[in-house]
């Protein structure tokens, strides 16, 4: 652990311009996370073009603080409107809203804010201690280790996807496939371009991201744009948790934070699953599980501590191995690449200041988030009732500007629109979008590693099962692939016997 580098990064963030980025990033993240229909992924994708002309350090500060803010902001809508502002807050709606409706909205928000803060701090501690050793280990990884790790990540993402594993696989592999048109990096020849010169450069990450996450969401939201959601008002009761409350809920908070961090570290999974796992565990070990879903304090704490903890957890594989821990991390990888920074095990050597900027921002944004949420949640809450018929068209304009700004070409804007429609269709068919984006980001790396590995071994694929790490990753991937089908088969057999 390099405390000198950490303190240097903290001091640099506290300089006026970087602190402004931290401040505005966290605040915007909270507000956007709180507005239903707008997500952190959308905000970060749309902000990315604005960072082109910034110093990479400030760009990282802005984007990471938005990430922290957006995951936290979802709590407000989940509690006051029974609508998760971000998907990560789904579990908070089960207990946050009933508690708010029963006349204790301040208490519900206070529990969530404190749990978010503690979750963020614990995950930050793990991020600080684990990242460097993991990156040192990852420097020993060869092409086959990387290739099998990415394949394992893809299967893992598919296996935890909402709906079915097959749909997760379709989404991830489709994302991989659409990243392949363009000039083949190994041979220099165009492939899958259909003789269309505009495709020679391939499809760019930013228009695909904005289309898949922002435009598809805008189209989906206009389905019920006139619906008025249920709401509970923020009362004047305090949102700060007392010391005795903290003591009473410490075990649940710490346990949920570690669950969230652990799940965040797993490549490609993210906050929603972390929140579900922590909530389920809290319910299973609770002395009063019957209260879950009716306004349970334990439920709110478990969900919020875990979803904020996944932020720090998910940054670990991103920094150490260049593998995204969640969808937002996939966007961050794109952001780093745009700023000519290659995420991965050598990041500590090539861009030490950027790594420490990420780690320091994670801590400072959490502190700032706690400050914002406790002091001004009432004002932030009033923004979530902005009419969507006004908000969505404005976001659509930013989508167009964001896509165009990358290369100053209208082709990217049309690509964005096309992927907006594709994203909307996938969502309607209950095919998750997360694996699509992660597949899109990881496919070039996976193919490059496979091909360079095969060149090293003259076409021999056996290292996938003869080397320890690739063997471990391959076995894990196979088990993850077979497991859902095996359990389904067993369930059907049990059903027939009955």
């Amino acid at each position: 652990m390099d405390l000198a580098a950490l303190s240097t990064a903290i001091l640099q963030i506290l300089t006026p311009w970087s602190f402004f980025m931290l401040f505005i990033g966290t605040l915007l993240g909270i507000v956007v996370g709180a507005i239903p229909g707008l997500t952190g992924a959308m905000l970060i994708a749309l902000t990315l073009p604005l960072t082109f002309y910034m110093e990479p350090f400030n760009a990282v500060v802005l984007l990471i603080s938005m990430y922290v803010g957006a995951i936290s902001g979802g709590l407000i809508t989940a509690t006051l409107m029974r609508m998760p502002g971000t998907p990560a807050s789904v579990m908070t709606t089960f207990d946050g809203y009933p508690m708010a409706r029963s006349g204790r909205p301040g208490r519900a928000l206070g529990l969530g804010i404190t749990a978010s803060f503690v979750g963020g701090l614990i995950a930050w501690g793990v991020l600080l201690t684990v990242t460097k050793p993991l990156s040192i280990l990852a420097t020993r990884f060869g092409p086959f280790e990387y290739f099998t790790l990415i394949m394992m990540a893809m299967v893992l993402i598919a296996s935890v996807s909402e709906g079915s594993m097959v749909k997760g696989l379709i989404s991830g592999l489709l994302g991989m496939l659409v990243s392949m048109p363009g000039v083949d990096p190994a041979s220099g020849m165009p492939r899958l371009t259909f003789d269309w010169y505009l495709l020679n450069g391939g499809l760019q990450l930013l228009p695909v991201l904005i289309g898949t996450f922002a435009v598809s969401q805008i189209i989906a939201d206009t389905l019920d744009v006139q619906n008025k959601p249920e709401r509970a008002e923020v009362a004047n009761d305090s949102v700060l948790m007392s010391f005795s409350d903290l003591k009473k809920n410490a075990v649940n908070m710490i346990r949920s934070s570690f669950i969230g961090t652990g799940i965040g570290i797993l490549p490609g999974i993210g906050a929603s699953i972390g929140s579900v796992a922590a909530y389920t565990t809290a319910k299973n070990v609770s002395k009063s599980p019957e209260k879950f879903g009716t306004g349970s304090e334990e439920g709110i704490i478990a969900s919020e501590a875990a979803n904020n903890a996944t932020v720090g957890g998910a940054l670990i594989p991103l920094i150490a191995m260049g593998i995204p821990g969640s969808v937002i991390d996939a966007i961050l990888i794109g952001a780093l690449t745009i700023h000519s920074i290659q995420p991965g095990p050598t990041l500590f050597l090539t861009n030490n200041d950027i790594v420490w900027a990420m780690i320091a921002t994670c801590l400072l944004a959490n502190i700032l988030m706690f400050f914002f949420m406790t002091s001004s949640v009432r004002y932030i809450a009033s923004m979530i009732y902005l009419p969507r018929s006004f908000v969505l068209p404005v976001v659509a304009v930013f989508c167009v500007v964001g896509s165009y700004a990358l290369n100053n070409t209208m082709f990217d804007v049309w690509v964005m629109l096309l992927f907006g429609v594709i994203g909307f269709m996938l969502e309607r068919a209950k095919i998750p979008l997360g694996p699509f984006v992660i597949g899109f980001v990881l496919a070039p790396l996976a193919e490059e590693k496979l091909r360079s590995g095969l060149m090293m071994t003259a076409g021999d694929i056996s290292p996938v099962v003869t080397r320890p790490f690739p063997l471990f990753f391959t076995i894990t991937a196979v088990i993850l692939l077979i497991w859902p089908f095996w359990t389904e088969h067993k369930r059907k057999r049990a059903g027939k016997t009955d």
């Binding site: 392949m180 019920d224 018929s389 006004f390 404005v394 209208m410 629109l417």
Partner: protein, 159 residues
């Protein structure tokens, strides 16, 4: 979780079709000269797996639909319970907006202002009391964005 079997069949069919086009195109790629794999096998394998997965979903959903024997009711439930007005108007106007920018019909600020006014008013079902706020928001956002991007962030804008 609410399922949409007909939508799933249609979407998976569409994805399978796209993958088939990719598959055929990848099939014709030449083998590698300096490396064992070449550029074709990875997209070929990827497209093939997606097609198989899509067929699994399509067959499974089609069997379930036939077993239940309520295709018409299911169709009505999936496509006729919610009005497609919002998505259609949003998508349609956005396509027109992007085309207008692409064709340089007017400056960014003017095209955006018209687009925002019409879209906001349309989403508000052209209620009279929403027209003025829609226009005001459109003017502030469109010319504000134009000023901010060209003068503050120094980022080029379309049109």
């Amino acid at each position: 979780m609410q399922r949409n079997p007909i939508t799933e069949i249609l979407v998976c069919g569409f994805i399978a079709l796209i993958c088939l086009v990719f598959f055929i195109n990848a099939w014709s790629l030449p083998p590698g000269t300096f490396e064992p794999l070449g550029s074709g096998p990875v997209p070929l394998a990827t497209a093939a797996i997606v097609i198989i997965c899509c067929l699994v979903i399509m067959i499974g959903q089609a069997r379930a639909l036939i077993r239940n024997g309520q295709v018409e009711r299911q169709f009505r439930m999936e496509f006729m319970t919610r009005s497609p007005y919002g998505p259609l108007i949003t998508l349609g106007l956005t396509v027109v907006y992007v085309a207008a920018l692409d064709l340089n019909v007017a400056s960014f600020g003017v095209i955006t202002c018209v687009f925002l006014t019409i879209l906001i008013a349309a989403l508000e079902n052209f209620k009279l009391k929403s027209l003025l706020p829609a226009f005001l928001v459109a003017v502030v956002v469109s010319f504000g964005v134009e000023y901010m991007f060209t003068n503050v962030f120094v980022v080029d804008l379309p049109a």
